[in-house]
Amino acid sequence: MRRRGCTLAVELKSWKELPVGGVIPGGATPELNKTGSWRAKRPVWNAEKCVHCLQCWLHCPDNSFFLKEQKITGIDYDHCKGCGVCAAICPVGAIEMVPERGGGR
């Protein structure tokens, strides 16, 4: 059985193949689960305005800010759910929330 959905396209296992208690050996799995499609509004990051205070990175509940050498480099739209915390916390207005449909890339 194969399912293509909003998150994963994987072979679904029979109940007999599942680890006891539904544990997932190997640890964290959120990276595999692409939650970006849940978003109604997307945060648009303005590199010009950004002062790299990292408040967005710190507060993001989905760990969706890319960081390189202490600087914000972009947003992980595969996982960002569009909660808007980053836009609310940004002290310099460098993040704008724009509707997913109707422009705003």
């Binding site: 399912r3 029979s14 109940w15 007999k16 208690g21 544990v23």
Partner: protein, 385 residues
């Protein structure tokens, strides 16, 4: 060693000998002394268990779940409203297949508030996914606490196990209990080898997963497989334990003078002791009566019980809790073994709610009542009409 002790002490003794890694417990009548005895063992340095004195039963079971997932051997105890508060997390424990052992000092549920014995609390957890065993005596409570540890941790089972003992009737009364040497118990339960310990940082695992409609069903079916494996494991454990202790534990229930019995009582817990005395009296008068005392309630051994009852003419199934809006849960369990085929006449008796005494005369009344009975009748024993 033979000693006189209460049911509390018998359970606490078994726990001391098992010496689990963690005990998380909150006191509630009629369970409190189990927690008190164990706290004494911990604080006197007799056991190395980490005792977590939590602020509620919800926290108690939550701490048990965390500790068990971490890889610890865990025991708790509660009663009545305490179990009601635990139930949310008990379902989590069963769903995560965590082998937590619990002594449940059976007590009624509010309202009206009442601290005495019935089986409402056990019935509340009936569909939780926990295995449930009923003890007739302090001795059985002791023995089943030890066997429960092996059953819970059996690799094919891995489920919480509740050992039920009647509040006050068993918890607070003194009986002769034969205990095993400490080493014998330690050897019997062995070392616990958890398959996915959360604290094993070299082998990370995700516990407590979220399951969408594409996997929830499969995980629940897999959980049922744990229940399906329990009967065989139960019998094996009984066999090994019987060889160790010399007491005959054999089967999912005790059949007392059942072979040629025409009228039979099916019951769980301490009332079985009273019923045995009545069976003896009536047998002396030449009446063919017998008793089937259920040890293993969940998973329910319906085929084996049906086989044992097939020769009877009339059976009274006694429930010490009301399943509001229907016949008693044990009654329906027993009758389900005869679905689609002829069997004895089955009457349901609700009895002993809120600690209502169950004297021998009442049990004799049940046997008498079976002479004129129709299947599906619901009767209330010892109730003022």
């Amino acid at each position: 060693m033979r000693k006189v002790m209460t049911g509390h002490k018998a359970v606490a003794e078994a726990m001391r000998q098992i010496e689990p890694d963690v005990v998380a417990v909150y006191p509630i009548t009629p369970q409190s002394e189990i927690a008190e005895y164990y706290a004494e063992y911990v604080h006197n340095g007799i056991v190395k268990t980490e005792l977590i004195p939590v602020e509620s039963e919800h926290s108690a079971m939550s701490a048990c779940v965390g500790a068990s997932a971490a890889g610890a051997r865990v025991i708790t105890a509660t009663a009545s409203q305490g179990l009601a508060l635990m139930v949310e997390v008990l379902y989590v424990a069963a769903g995560l297949r965590l082998p937590i052992v619990m002594a449940l000092a059976n007590r009624s549920l509010s309202a009206p508030i009442n601290i005495h014995c019935d089986h409402s609390d056990a019935y509340l957890a009936r569909d939780s996914g926990a295995i449930q065993i009923f003890a007739e005596s302090a001795q059985e409570a002791y023995d089943y606490m030890i066997m429960a540890q092996k059953l819970a941790e059996n690799a094919k089972v891995r489920l919480p196990v509740i050992v039920n003992l009647d509040g006050f009737t068993l918890t607070h009364s003194s009986q002769v209990v034969e205990t095993l040497p400490d080493e014998a118990v330690k050897d019997f339960v062995g070392e616990y080898d958890p398959p996915y310990p959360l604290l094993d940082v070299d082998r990370p695992v995700t516990w407590g997963v979220f399951a969408m409609p594409d996997y929830y069903f499969e995980l629940k079916r897999a959980q049922q497989a744990g229940m399906e494996a329990a009967p065989e494991a139960f019998l094996e454990i009984q066999k090994a334990y019987s060889e160790l202790c010399g007491r005959p534990y054999k089967g999912f229930f005790e059949a007392y003078k059942l072979d040629d019995a025409e009228r039979v009582i099916v019951v769980m817990g301490s009332t079985a002791g009273t019923a045995k005395a009545v069976v003896d009296e009536l047998r002396d008068k030449g009446e063919r009566v017998g008793l089937l005392k259920v040890w293993l309630w969940r998973p329910f051994p319906r085929a084996e019980i049906a086989e044992a009852l097939a020769g009877a003419k009339a059976v009274a199934v006694m429930d010490r809790a009301i399943s509001f809006g229907n016949l008693g849960a044990l009654y329906l369990d027993v009758v389900s073994g005869f679905a689609g085929r002829p069997g004895p006449t089955f009457v349901n008796y609700i009895y002993g709610l809120g600690g209502r005494d169950v004297p021998m005369e009442h049990i004799a009344e049940v046997f008498e009542g079976l002479k004129e009975a129709e299947t599906g009748e619901l009767r209330y024993l010892g109730l003022r009409e």
